[in-house]
C-alpha cells in the first residue's frame, strides 16, 4: 500500500487482517510490542515473523487501522522487567555438533563457549506450539540447514539454522543442525504461560553435562 522511509508498509490481507511489513527483526519487535501494549480495536491475535507482523481482527479492517499502523513508532521496546530471562540448560552432544564445528572453523569446546556466550532473544514463533526462533548468534555461527532434513527430530533437540537457534518442543521433522538437547519443558498447556520461549524473551544457553 504505502511505504515509509524506514520500510514500514501495510499490506492487505483479506477482510479480517492487515500485514505490517518492516525492514527486520528489531522493527518486528517494536511493532509487536506497540500493538501488544496498545491493540487496535477488535484485535484478536498478532503473528510476529521475520519481517512482518500479522494483525488479526474480529471485523473488517478500516482505513483508519492502516493509517494507525503506518504511524507506529519503530523505536525498540524498552527492556521489560516483567520478561524474565530464560537460562536454557543444554547438553552439547548433538549429532551435528562436529559438522557445525567444521562449518564454523571452530573446535567443539570453542563452539560451545561461543554458543553459551551469545545473548539470544526469542524473535518469533510459528513453526510449532512453543518453538521460538532465537536471534543474536554472531554471524560466524550462522550455518546452513542440513541438505537432507531428518524425518524425526527428538523433543528437546537444540539446533541452528541460518541466523537462528531453536529448541524443538516435541518430536517433528526438521532440517536444523542439531548441536545438543535440553530437558527444559518448552511447552505445557497446563502452565501459565504455556510457552517458555515467547517473543521478546532473552535466552542464554547454559552448558550442562
Amino acid at each position: 500500500m504505502s511505504g515509509r522511509d524506514d520500510g514500514l508498509a501495510v499490506l492487505p490481507y483479506g477482510d479480517r487482517a492487515l500485514l505490517v511489513e518492516v525492514a527486520g527483526l528489531d522493527a518486528v519487535a517494536a511493532v509487536r510490542a506497540a500493538l501488544e501494549h496498545d491493540p487496535l480495536p477488535g484485535q484478536v491475535d498478532l503473528v510476529p515473523a521475520a519481517r512482518t507482523v500479522l494483525v488479526l481482527l474480529d471485523r473488517p479492517p478500516a482505513d483508519t487501522d492502516a493509517a494507525r499502523l503506518r504511524r507506529l513508532s519503530l523505536t525498540p521496546p524498552p527492556d521489560d522487567d516483567a520478561v524474565r530471562a530464560v537460562d536454557l540448560p543444554v547438553v552439547f552432544d548433538g549429532p551435528d555438533l562436529d559438522d557445525v564445528a567444521s562449518l564454523t572453523g571452530l573446535a567443539v569446546p570453542q563452539l560451545v563457549a561461543e554458543l553459551t556466550a551469545a545473548e539470544l532473544t526469542v524473535a518469533f514463533g510459528g513453526f510449532a506450539p512453543g518453538f521460538g526462533y532465537l536471534t543474536g548468534l554472531p554471524e560466524h555461527l550462522h550455518v546452513p540447514r542440513r541438505s537432507t532434513p531428518r524425518t524425526r527430530v527428538p523433543p528437546g533437540s537444540v539446533g541452528l539454522a541460518g541466523p537462528f537457534a531453536g529448541a524443538y518442543p516435541r518430536a517433528s521433522p526438521g532440517g536444523w543442525q542439531l548441536v545438543g538437547r535440553t530437558d527444559a519443558v518448552l511447552f505445557d498447556v497446563d502452565r501459565d504461560p504455556p510457552a517458555l520461549l515467547r517473543p521478546g524473551t532473552p535466552v542464554r544457553l547454559r552448558e550442562v553435562r
Partner: protein
C-alpha cells in the same frame, strides 16, 4: 452422556478455536464451517462457546445415555433417531437409550451435531477443538468413547427449524487480493478468478489443495515465513495453490496470492476431494 458407536471417517470435537496464541505457534483451529457450527448451537439453545461434533462424510452413530436435545447442521445427511427419520437444521429430542445415526451427506463434507449443554471435553488453552496440525485438543472420536454433556446452555430454544440453503454444487468463492500478489506472475490472479479448479484428494482440515493451471511466480527468491489466515490462498513452488482452512499453520513461507472472504469460508469447508470450485474477485 453420548456413547460413540461409530465415528465415520473422521469426527472431532470443535468450538470457536484458540485465537490469541499465534505468537507462540498455536494455530487457531475450531469448526471448519463456523456458520453450521454456530447454527447447531443456536438450535439447541447453547452458548456460542459450546463445542459440537464435526463429522467428515457423515457416518456417526451415537447412543444417548440420557435424553438429549440435539441438532444436525452443515452438509445435509439422513438422520434417524431410534430408527425413525428426523429433520436436519432443527432441534430433535433423542430419548434415553435411543440411537442417533447420521448417514452420508448427499452434498458437502462436514456435518455438525450439537447437543444442548455442549460436548464437554477438557479444554486445552481455552478451547475443546481438536487441532489436526498441532495435535492440541482431544483425539478424534472413536467407537467406545463416551462424551459428557456440559452446561453451556442458555434459554430454551425457540426455533423449530432453520431455513438453510444446502451447499452449492457449483460453488464460487469470493477472493480479495493477498499480500503477495506481486510475487506471482501478472496473469496468476486472472487465472485464479477465471479458470476452473478441482479439490485434490490430499485435502483436510489444514487446507484444500487445488489442481488447475500452474500459477507461475514473478520472483524466485525466498519469502521469509509470515502469518497466515483461514482462507489464504498460498502458492508453493509447484504452482498448485493451497486454500487454508481452520487448522492452517500459524506461518507459511510461500506467497499468498488471494484471501477468500470470511463469509465464504463455510462453503470452502464443505468442498470434497474431486469437487470443482471457482473464484470471483471481490475487490472493491
Amino acid at each position: 452422556m453420548l456413547r460413540v458407536l461409530a465415528s465415520g471417517p473422521l469426527a472431532t470435537v470443535q468450538d470457536a478455536g484458540r485465537p490469541g496464541w499465534a505468537a507462540i505457534g498455536v494455530p487457531r483451529s475450531g469448526a471448519a464451517d463456523r456458520a453450521a457450527h454456530d447454527l447447531a448451537n443456536r438450535l439447541v439453545g447453547n452458548l456460542p462457546s459450546a463445542a459440537t461434533v464435526e463429522t467428515t462424510a457423515g457416518g456417526l452413530r451415537l447412543r444417548a445415555e440420557r435424553t438429549a436435545l440435539v441438532a444436525v447442521t452443515g452438509a445435509p445427511v439422513p438422520v434417524t433417531v431410534a430408527g425413525r427419520p428426523a429433520p436436519i437444521n432443527a432441534p430433535v429430542t433423542v430419548p434415553a437409550g435411543a440411537e442417533l445415526v447420521l448417514g452420508a451427506p448427499s452434498i458437502g463434507l462436514r456435518t455438525y451435531l450439537a447437543v444442548r449443554g455442549g460436548v464437554d471435553v477438557p479444554p486445552v488453552l481455552g478451547s475443546r477443538s481438536t487441532d489436526r496440525l498441532s495435535g492440541l485438543g482431544p483425539d478424534p472420536l472413536q467407537a467406545g468413547n463416551v462424551l459428557a454433556v456440559g452446561d453451556l446452555a442458555g434459554e430454551e430454544p425457540v426455533v423449530d427449524v432453520a431455513p438453510v440453503r444446502p451447499p452449492s454444487d457449483r460453488p464460487v468463492l469470493r477472493v480479495l487480493p493477498g499480500p503477495r500478489r506481486d510475487w506471482l506472475a501478472a496473469e496468476a490472479w486472472t487465472r485464479l478468478v477465471s479458470d476452473a479448479w478441482t479439490v485434490s484428494a490430499d485435502s483436510d482440515r489444514v487446507g484444500l489443495r487445488l489442481t488447475g493451471p500452474r500459477l507461475e511466480r514473478a520472483r524466485d527468491d525466498e519469502l521469509p515465513s509470515e502469518g497466515l489466515v483461514p482462507g489464504a490462498v498460498q502458492v508453493p513452488p509447484d504452482g498448485a495453490p493451497v486454500l487454508f482452512l481452520a487448522d492452517h499453520p500459524v506461518t507459511g513461507g510461500y506467497p499468498v496470492l488471494a484471501v477468500v472472504v470470511t463469509a465464504d469460508l463455510p462453503a470452502a469447508a464443505q468442498l470434497r476431494p474431486g469437487d470443482g470450485v471457482r473464484f470471483r474477485s471481490s475487490h472493491r
